[in-house]
Structures are given as C-alpha cells and as structure tokens.
C-alpha cells in the first residue's frame, strides 16, 4: 500500500512538528496550515487524500474547512484531531463531513492506523466518539420520541450498530470487535460507516440539543 498523502491543519506549530515527526515515514505529508483560509487554499492546491484537522482554529471552526473543500473536492477525506472533548465541537465537525474523530492523546501508531483507515474510505471512531454517539442516540434520552420522525431509518441505531459502538467504547479495536461478535472486519467497518452516515444525515434535533445539554451539565 502506498503512503497516504496527508495535509495537517493545526494552529499550534509545536503540535504540528510533533505529529510530523511521529508520522514520518508512514505517511507523505504534503503541506500544513495554521488557519482556516490558508488551509482552504492550500488543500485545494495540493489535493491530499487525508486532512488531519484541528477542531478549533483562530479563524473559525474546522467544520468551515470541511464545508469549503468538500464542495469542490469530494474525494478529500477529513480526520478530526482535537484536544477538545466538547461534544458540540465533535458533533459539528462530524456533521460537516469528517470521517472520524480522535483525540490528541492518541499514540503515533494508532494515529497512522486511523489515517490509513480514513484514506481507505472507512470511518474512525475513538472510544470517546462511540460514547458520544451512544449517548446522543440513546432511546431513554429523547423527550421528543412522540414527534414524527423525518426519516426513522436515520434517527436510530440498529441493535448491531449499538453492539459495535459499545465494544469500541470499551476500547476494542475493529479486529477485536469482529472477533467478539463473530463477524468480519469488513462488516464492522460497514456498521461504523452506517453509524457515521446517520450521524451526518439525521435530522434529529436531539443531536444538537444533546450536545448543548452536555456542555451545560
């Protein structure tokens, strides 16, 4: 497998340098930017496979970069890499179109693994993101269950998806999840991609409200 071409967006030059040295050899870093507008122009020029994106940037949110690039270059994939655990940040960047979310405490090898996974078109769920999704889609959470759903298919998780997410939240890798549930890794990946799609497309008001509530409590 050839090395994926990666673009780095983060406003901390020290953090960029750290990521660069950790990823050296495993990926091909084609450029980096520290803010929204230079990121947009440079990504449009270099057209990398994967953009490692900080959620918080001085000139706006990471979701602005995702939105601007996806219109012209739908093949560029985004992996959110952030120190922020705030649910609304995570949900916002995922709903803008990022293929995954990992925290900055992730180890180098795990990050390389996540980049390769995103480059191959899969979704990357950290345990924390899996926990967020389980919480946001939890049935007991919905005060508006009585509301007619716009698309019920998108508004809830299947039992299997819930199982997969629980295992990821428990710290299992995709391979371990597959082994535990007696399914193939490909099936795990398709479940996770399906959850990602629901997360991005669901019109559920709860997602936003849930994120806002988590911020307040």
């Amino acid at each position: 497998m050839s090395k994926p071409r990666v673009f780095l967006v983060d406003d901390h030059s020290m953090f960029r340098a750290g990521v660069r040295s950790e990823l050296a050899g495993a990926v091909d870093i084609v450029g980096e930017a520290a803010d929204v507008s230079p990121a947009i122009t440079q990504i449009a020029q270099s057209v990398p496979e994967v953009v490692l994106l900080d959620v918080h940037l001085p000139g706006g949110g990471g979701q602005d970069v995702v939105a601007a690039i996806r219109a012209e270059h739908p093949d560029v994939k985004f992996l959110a890499l952030s120190a922020s655990d705030a649910p609304e940040d995570v949900i916002a960047v995922i709903r803008a179109g990022a293929r995954g979310y990992v925290t900055k405490t992730i180890s180098g090898t795990e990050l390389i693994d996540a980049i390769n996974r995103v480059a191959a078109g899969d979704a990357v769920f950290s345990p924390r993101l899996a926990g967020f999704v389980l919480d946001a889609f939890a049935a007991g959470h919905s005060a508006d269950l009585g509301r007619p759903s716009f698309d019920p298919e998108l508004d809830q998780l299947t039992g299997r998806e819930r199982e997969v997410l629980r295992l990821i939240a428990r710290g299992y890798t995709y391979r371990e999840v597959a082994k535990e549930l007696f399914i193939s890794v490909k099936t795990v990946e398709s479940h996770v991609s399906s959850v990602l799609r629901k997360l991005q497309l669901s019109t559920r008001h709860q997602l936003t409200r849930w994120a806002a509530e988590r911020k307040l409590t």
Partner: protein
C-alpha cells in the same frame, strides 16, 4: 419599455392633423407624413377624434400650457384615452405599465415611505407620482384622514414577498403597545390644552394625528429589518441617527437651533399678534428644537453607558480567567520545569493538569472543585479516573454514556470498578486502561479493560483469587454480577453489571 412606445402612440393619436401644430413629443416621422399608425389603440383614438370634430384636437395640438382635461365634452368612451393622452403629450404620464395581477402588496423597491403608493401603482398600472399627489391632496382636503388610512395600510398590507403584515407582529409587542398608549395620552392632553387655547382646528386633527403617531410607533418597532434599515437611511440625511456623519450632525444642529430661535421669538411675540395661536406654535417649535438638538446626545449617552457596562463585564471575566489559569496551569508548568528530570512525575503532573483544564473548559467545573463527594455515577467515574491516574501514573480513558444518581448499589458498583482499575494499573503493565460506563434504563454496566500481560483465570493462585472473589461477592449480594475475561498476552477485561432499583429509573438519564 412599454410606456415609451405607448406614449408615442398616444401622442400620434391626439394629433390627427398635426402638421400645423407645434412639434411635441417624440413623433417626428408621423407629423410630416400626416398619417397616424394604424395599430389598434391609436386607430380607435383617431376615429373618436374624427367623429367629435376638430375643436378639442386643435387645442391639444397647439399645446399652449396644461389645458384642463376635456373628457366631458367627448361624446363617447374613447374620450378617456384621449384626455390622458393629451396630458401625456405635455409630459404628464398617468400610467407606467400594465396592471399586475394578485393581491395588493406594499412595494419593496421604488418606495418613498411605506411603499403603499408604489404598491397601488404596481397593482393598478397607474403612475406612482399621480397616486402620491392624490394622496397628499386628499390628505389635506380630508383633514388628515387619508394620512391615517395610509398608516393603517402600511400596518395591514404585507410587504412584497412577506406573508405577514406588520400589525400581526405588533399585537404581540407589549412594550410597543404601551408606548402607543402613552403617546396617545400625551397627545390627548396636548389637544385638550390646544382646544382650551381656542384653537378648535387642532381638535379636528385629533383622530388622524393620534392614529398616525401610534401607527408609526408600532411600525418603527415591528417592521422587518430591511424595511427598518431603509427608514433609517431616510432619517440619516437629517442627522437624526447617532451614526450620522459630522456634516449631517451640523445640519441637524443648525435646523434645531433655528427652530429654537423661532420658538423663543414666537413666545416673546405671543402677546401682540394672534394671541393664542403663537404660544402654541412657539411651544411646538421649542420642543421640536430641543429634541433635535439634545435627542441624539441623550441617545449616545445611553448607548455609551451600555457599552461601558459590557466592557466592564468582559474585563472582569478576563481577570477571573487569568487568576484561574495562574493558579492551575502556570503553577503546574513551573513545577514541571523544576522536575524535568523525573519523567514519571512530569507525566503525572501534565495529565492531572490536563484533566483539570478539560473539566473546566468543557464541563464547566472550575479548577479545584474536583475534590469532594461524587453525586452521580459520572462524577464517581471521574474521581476514579483522577485518583488512579495520579497515584499509578497510567492513563485512564473513561467514557460515560448516560448518568444517574449515586445510591448504595451504584456506590458498590463504583467501588468494584475502582478496584478493577487499580488492579489493572498495578499488575497489567499496560500504560492505558479503558473504563466504559453505560447507564441504561434497567441496569448500569462498567467495563475495565487493559491491553497488558493478561493471565489465565484458571491458573490464578488462591492468594490472588481473593480480590476477584471479593469484588464478585459484593456485587452478587446486591443483585449484580462480575465477569473476568483474560488470556496471557491478550490483556484483561472486567465486566460489572448492576440492575437499577425501580424507583431510580423514573427520571431516567439526565
């Protein structure tokens, strides 16, 4: 442009024998040719002309001044087109274009005030200027009642592209209605005084005046934003708004000063001429002058006071944040620099500081408040994470889904989870422990997983079995269960489940 061609045709129609007339309008070729074009409308006009004799057309063609419409002298209906055509030949156009279908709407472009006249013009196809002149004339003739009707139309006719009128929003505007009521009472008092001063003509204006004033108050508070922006741009040239440029403010000041001087003069002259009318006019001019001179100044003072308060709040927030960052982050950074040699301790310090900062930034708990009693399961999980990370120097990745009150059962479950986490920290050799807690409707599950050395549960010596057994016993006594899965080289996972007591389930997740 429809009006150009139309007007030209009418000009021609009005001048069937135009060779001898003063050349008027843009119809040179036809005048020399002497033959009007034979399209439908002009043909009709010309035939009407022919039947009615030459008198009127001669007068029209000579074009001396703005002769009054001669429509009444025309024997049949074609005359209407005739007099309007002759007016147009003098440059007064009555129509702009075809009438548009659909309900009457206030125009959003080409308006002067509320767009009522422009809206009517668009609906009927008549000229906007004509309608405006009519409105002003009739307003004067009807002692203001048409002006009142204009304001009411402004309130009740929705603007183009809008589905609601201003009135429907105004009925919910309690402060606006209060203002209108206050204004009404002030006006009533002023009118009573005026009529007592023997100026009865003022009282005949009472109803339209009050309705207009109240209507304008409600409009200025409830009109859509873009309409308000337009009205503000109307007020700008007079320097009425606080943001007006300096020259405009000078103009405003000049007008205000002039009104003041006139008012004072009128007051001084009050005794001699028109004894009772002058003081009234004087007071009105005086009040108007004071409002113009001092009004924006008062407004500016008020807005400056608001801005000042906001700035003070911001400064206080910044000071608070600075002191907190100083107490936590800066202290820890200093400590890390001093102990840079002890890698383990630096990691612990950084981790503890990171957790505290996270809790402050993302969960809203100020630094230092982490200690103390946990009140919910999620709090308890955070305490375990904090304790194990700082005492054993490994990362605890905790994910919590849902939350509930901490009762005895949950405390036992948390104690078991803590035991399992500490055990993993001591024996597994891994640098990370995952702690996943899910609060569901009927039960709470906790999973403690490490990727350390693992062990064979069947081969555990009896003296180390005690720990697992005591955890299990404590949970099963309360209706819960504990499972341990492990294999050498594959890490360990401890699953703990506790059912929730029935009375706890009602509020559900928070």
């Amino acid at each position: 442009m429809v009006d150009q061609a139309d007007g030209a045709a009418r000009n021609a129609a009005a001048q069937p024998g135009g060779q001898s007339g003063v050349p008027s309008g843009p119809c040179q070729p036809w005048e020399t040719g002497g033959n009007p074009p034979s399209d439908g409308r002009s043909g009709q006009g010309a035939s009407g002309q022919g039947a009615s004799g030459q008198g009127a057309s001669g007068e029209g063609a000579s074009g001396q001044g703005a002769s009054p419409p001669q429509g009444h002298s025309q024997p049949h209906g074609a005359g209407e087109g005739h007099w309007s055509a002759r007016l147009e030949s003098h440059g007064i156009r009555l129509t702009r274009g075809p009438a548009s279908p659909g309900p009457l709407r206030r125009a959003r472009d080409g308006q002067l005030l509320g767009g009522v006249a422009a809206g009517i013009a668009r609906r009927t196809g008549l000229s906007v200027g004509l309608i405006r002149v009519l409105i002003v004339v009739v307003t004067l003739l009807s002692t203001g009642y048409l002006g009142m009707a204009y304001v009411l139309a402004w309130l009740f006719i929705p603007a183009e592209g809008a589905d609601r009128n201003i009135a429907s929003k105004a009925v919910t505007d309690k402060r606006g209605i209060g203002l209108a009521v206050g204004l009404t009472s002030v006006l009533v008092v002023a009118l009573v005084i005026a009529s007592a001063l023997n100026a009865p003509w003022v009282t005949s204006l009472a109803v339209p005046l009050i309705v207009c004033a109240d209507g304008l108050v409600l409009i200025s508070r409830n009109a859509p934003d873009e309409e308000l922006a337009y009205l503000r741009s109307l007020a700008d040239p007079a320097g009425l708004t606080a943001t007006a440029p300096r020259s405009r403010r000078g103009l405003r000041f000049g007008i205000g000063a002039l009104l003041l001087i006139l008012g004072v003069y009128a007051l001084l002259q009050g005794h001699e001429r028109l004894a009772l009318l002058w003081p009234l006019a004087g007071i009105m001019l005086f009040v108007g002058g004071i409002t113009l001179v001092l009004g924006p100044w008062w407004l500016r003072i008020a807005t400056e006071a608001v801005a000042e308060r906001q700035a003070r709040i911001r400064a206080e927030e910044r000071a608070d944040m600075a002191s907190r960052v100083h107490d936590s982050v800066l202290q820890t950074l200093a400590l890390i620099q001093r102990r840079a040699g002890d890698q383990q301790q630096v990691i612990q310090l950084a981790r503890a500081q990171e957790r505290e900062l996270r809790a402050w930034l993302f969960d809203g708990r100020p630094p230092g408040s982490m200690e103390g009693q946990a009140e919910t399961v999620a709090d308890g999980v955070r305490l375990i994470q904090q304790e194990v990370e700082s005492q054993h120097g490994l990362a605890v990745e905790a994910v919590t889904v849902g939350d509930c009150e901490l009762d005895d059962d949950m405390s036992a479950l948390l104690a078991a989870a803590r035991e399992a986490t500490v055990n993993a920290a001591k024996w597994s050799g891994a640098d990370t422990v995952s702690l996943f807690v899910e609060v569901e409707q009927d039960s709470v599950s906790m999973f403690v997983r490490d990727r350390g050395c693992g062990f064979d549960p069947a081969a555990v010596p009896a003296d180390r079995k005690g720990l697992a057994e005591s955890v299990r016993a404590r949970l099963t006594r309360r209706g819960g269960s504990a499972t341990i899965r492990s294999a050498p080289g594959e890490g360990t996972e401890v699953s703990l489940v506790m059912p929730r007591s029935a009375d706890d389930r009602v509020p559900g997740r928070t």
